[in-house]
Chain length 633, copies 2
């Protein structure tokens, strides 16, 4: 059974956790990023994105290109991701002024498009002759992909098609090059595949679907394209090794790939495109390849927080069960991408497993990427931080103990913004007459089968979820989270009958019904496979979707000497913030310190009450130790 | 109280652990390395060392330099370390044929010395104009230092002074440049400092002592010399960063340095030179600086195995308590260097602490560097190995799960060879009328105070040490190892009186006396500071000087799911090899495997008898898991 996400405009948030996040994105992240793009944000690194478009437009008009191009080769994509986030946000919270800013930026982007449809300020300003000569590093298809996503989103949210038309011309340009003229190649950084699918869905243009298929199926086939390409040019952007076919997932045709490898963001963007195509075309073979890669990630290469990509070297997957806590990369963007992949898998197969992972990634790693005030961002999401080592030593330099401000490579903050702002499309989907509720997000939902419902919940802190059927009759598929050992349901106050299949409870509902779900709110200890060498003898603490962590500030400054008493009950702790965020209190022990490095005297274990807070909240109270996995007794 | 090491010829090994090792070095390592140097060793990487000297000699004679130079910039030092090991080995086991090989190589080296005393094949063959222009990377002083050590050793062992005279001319050349002509500079890789001291002791030439002092005291003083030097040339050897003043311990004058930093071999070679100078000159200030650096290493930056340098990035120290097991560097050479440093500290201060560390480094990391058959070598000595991750992933590539054959950079094997072959000089020393027994090594010792003794022991597997006084009267200082909770002594069968001070037991002895020491043979659990994040909740197993480890081959292929019952007694296990090497048996548990990566079901802990073997023996039975630190309950 497949399940299509709802449209962005079919979710109207209501008071609850998700809406508060979406408002934070609108209030803080979107305006701040706009200032960044315009180089008006104090303290932020120079972006130059708007200037790049202005300068590219000048160059195209034959004028002097001003101060030229500045930034990463994929700097354009910052504008695209901002526009996409704006589109989703406008769908939730109409805002004429914001829409005007977006329209102006879109107009500028249109000016920077060449008459043949080409759109990329780096090559337009620097050297038009180098276009399409370095797919390995050039990020032209990547940037196009992000603009396509933005175009489809902006069209869907506002009905305005200026950007969509720009990107149709761009897609035609790409189609001409790679299909009509048969130039060899596929993107070094996958993204355009999933984006072309969105363009296809927004426009119905079959060529975009064909082009997406082309990029997916040519990848890794016919030897090493990147090497052939590299041999034809005498320049590089930053010296990527064309022989590293794992880094960019081209070591085999995608249908034959078995392990999730290489740069983790590239990987999940690729797999998202593959899974979307599989659903679109009913391509069982391609879905089966996706399933294999999904299992590789989620059964062998994923942190308990839904983080993926365990090494900073290449920001990459490594090998099975290699999940270091202290040197983790676990990029925020990669967990956004894992959510994309999960949503695309649901399009093929309504299975709670996909939504479980989507939820795990969202409530833990994606949200940890952003500070409580929406002003600072983690790119790297470690599961252990020790000030003095983290961010300091050569092996831990990438693991910052505090959220930094906006980076030059500003990939993660706008990815969080667009993911949070479009959360409705992850939470809800339609499968024929079935309304699918994958995630628990308060708001009104219009399903395309005619059912309208209102979801009320304080999830992830409240464990009651109420669905009022505002109109229509049909079936409701509500996910039974794998973490919920209990699951009870009432319709109109009476115990409801339901059938459970593949992690969903199926209910027949009619207009006016009120379905109330009770999820398991028990905090629990979680254990991991003993194959993960980093965590042997350790447990983590979870409650519902949230993984908890231990910070020094709550635990006498030292979490390294703590151990958990897993035989005791986890209790609610101190109030943290409105409306109902509390820490958890856990019985445990603190081992006494030793005199030197090593001793034969067994350290004493002194009972102590330990405090855990939700992982995504860590690092909001100054630099201090943090650990997710703690030894237990 | 200071303590001078005995001369190499004053120790004659007797049947026991140390002699067996020394014979192994003579039988396997020395002949094999000679074949390597001559490019006749099958399977070994090309060395070209002998050819380099031949070609340099040709170049000096104005002939064509044949096939030129090949190898690392410090390739010459392989010949030097071989000669030094040969010297020590000849002192133990006279061998005319081996001596002839060494004499021939020395003659060749003499031919490769320029008439001004300069000796270095890299610069002689490649470009004489570049001499002394790149102290940062050029390793000229480093190679000279190794030849000086070899020269002093060969002279001491054989009485032959050909190489000593070569190195006197070389030392004069260096003196002229850096002292007489006042050229600025000090070595990028310390070594010449400790070597000049050996030259001074072998020849009595005060200029060598002055030169050593000069290099020690100019280091890190007066801004960044390496940067000034780099600005004067347009070439590098391998692009070392002159601004990285930690890497080569030049961030401050050495007397002001507080933390052991940078490349760990460079560090301990420097500190050895400093400590030797401090002892030679009675320089309390310098000794105090050494003491601070010693504490930095041994109280905050040393593995339980005596390994140092916890990151492969720069083969370097990192920061306090950062001691990862799985990505450790812990180079074999660095632990040899730690022994050098410890011996030099004993020259300043007779304190058992130094010998404790010397013993820890020797019996664990240094010996682990060599396979049981003396044919394969670890450069890196991890405390955890997981095939599939170790040696495979980008972060673990340097951690080989099996001892490789001789490397191109053949630093470690000859370092093990020279350390093992000269162990008598680490084990025994003289302090006035006191005969100092730092390590337990069977053999006859002639102390310069006239006492001769015979030590019999099967240490580290036997815990009885017998000292027979063959002639002379005096005092014996026998180290009371910090790991030995008990210590009993009998003289001629009767409980002996002794005074204990600074980790030594002092006995009055006379010719004919037999002193018998009983050390604590109880296997023990060792715990570490909770500041070492990698080991929280873990214990290691030791017996005497030996740290034990758990290998998959003894533990059903999986050591990750093991935990120790530290309340139980550790028993002797299976016989491993002659004469009395046994494994240890420890009660423990194996946790059941989980279904997936994460589960709320607590894994069962099933009792199991665990097997540990001495750490230095690991990796001799094929590729498998290995761990030193194991969770305990």
């Amino acid at each position: 059974m497949n399940c299509k996400p709802i449209n962005i405009k079919d979710f109207t948030p209501a008071e609850g956790f998700v809406m508060r996040l979406q408002k934070l994105i609108k209030r803080e992240v979107i305006p701040y990023q706009y200032e960044v793009l315009c180089d008006r944000a104090e303290g932020a690194e120079k972006s130059h994105v708007v200037k790049n478009f202005e300068n590219a437009a000048k160059a195209l008009r034959g004028e002097d290109a001003g101060d030229g191009f500045y930034g990463m080769v994929f700097q354009d994509s910052d504008a695209a991701k901002w526009l996409e986030a704006v589109a989703y946000s406008l769908a939730l919270f109409p805002d004429k002024e914001l829409e005007k800013q977006a329209d102006e930026l879109i107009a500028l982007i249109a000016e920077a498009q060449d008459e043949d449809g080409y759109l990329n300020t780096y090559f337009t300003i620097k050297d038009k002759e180098k276009r399409w000569a370095n797919l390995l590093e050039g990020h032209e298809l990547y940037c196009s992909g992000h603009f396509m996503e933005a175009a489809a989103a902006y069209y869907e949210a506002t009905g305005k098609d200026t950007l969509l038309n720009v990107m149709k011309r761009n897609a035609e340009h790409i189609y001409k090059r790679f299909i009509t003229e048969k130039h060899e190649g596929y993107p070094g950084h996958p993204e355009v595949e999933l984006a072309l699918l969105k363009m296809y869905r927004a426009t119905g243009e079959k060529r975009y679907l064909d082009l997406a298929e082309h990029f997916v199926d040519s990848r890794g086939a016919g030897g090493n394209f990147y090497k052939r390409e590299a041999e034809l040019r005498d320049w590089t952007v930053w010296g990527n090794n064309p022989d590293d076919r794992y880094y960019q997932q081209s070591y085999a045709p995608v249908r034959e790939q078995r392990d999730a490898v290489g740069h983790s963001v590239r990987a999940v963007y690729l797999y998202t495109g593959m899974a979307g195509l599989a659903a679109q075309n009913g391509d069982k073979e391609l879905f089966s390849a996706c399933r294999t890669l999904w299992e590789s990630i989620t059964q062998k290469r994923m942190y308990v927080t839904g983080g993926i990509g365990s090494t900073c070297i290449g920001e990459a997957f490594t090998t099975d069960y290699d999940l270091p806590n202290d040197t983790a990369y676990a990029e925020t963007c990669a967990s956004c991408g894992l959510m994309f992949f999960a949503r695309a898998m649901l399009e093929n197969d309504l299975n709670g497993e996909y939504a479980d992972v989507m939820e795990r990634a969202f409530y833990n790693t994606v949200l940890a990427g952003m500070s409580l005030d929406g002003k600072r961002f983690f790119y790297v999401n470690p599961l252990e931080v020790i000030p003095g080592i983290s961010g300091e030593t050569a092996t831990h330099w990438h693991v910052k103990p505090q959220r930094p401000e906006w980076f030059t490579c500003a990939c993660c903050p706008p990815n969080v913004a667009r993911t949070v702002s479009s959360l409705g499309t992850y939470a809800y989907g339609t499968s024929g007459d079935i309304c699918c509720c994958h995630l628990f997000a308060a708001g009104d939902v219009d399903f395309e089968n005619g059912v309208k419902l209102r979801c009320s919940t304080e999830f992830p802190y409240g464990f009651t979820v109420k669905y009022e059927i505002l109109s229509g009759n049909g079936r409701l598929a509500v996910r039974i989270p794998s973490w919920s050992e209990s699951f009870s349901a009432k319709i109109n106050g009476t115990a409801a009958e339901y059938s459970a299949e593949n992690g969903y409870a199926f209910f027949g509902v009619k207009s006016g019904d009120v379905l109330e779900i009770e999820l398991d709110d028990t905090p629990k200890f979680v254990y991991c496979s003993s194959k993960i060498s980093e965590n042997t003898g350790c447990a983590a603490v979870t409650r519902g979707a949230l993984v908890y962590c231990f910070e020094g500030v709550d635990n006498n400054g030292d979490v390294l000497s703590l151990s958990l008493d897993v035989n005791s009950k986890i209790e609610q702790g101190e109030f943290i913030e409105e409306p109902d965020v509390y820490s958890l209190k856990i019985n445990g022990f603190r081992t006494s310190s030793t005199d030197g490095l090593y001793t034969t005297r067994r350290p004493e274990a002194v009972p102590e009450t330990l405090t855990a807070i939700p992982y995504y909240l860590w690092g909001n109270r100054g630099e201090n130790q943090m650990r997710v996995w703690i030894n237990y007794r």
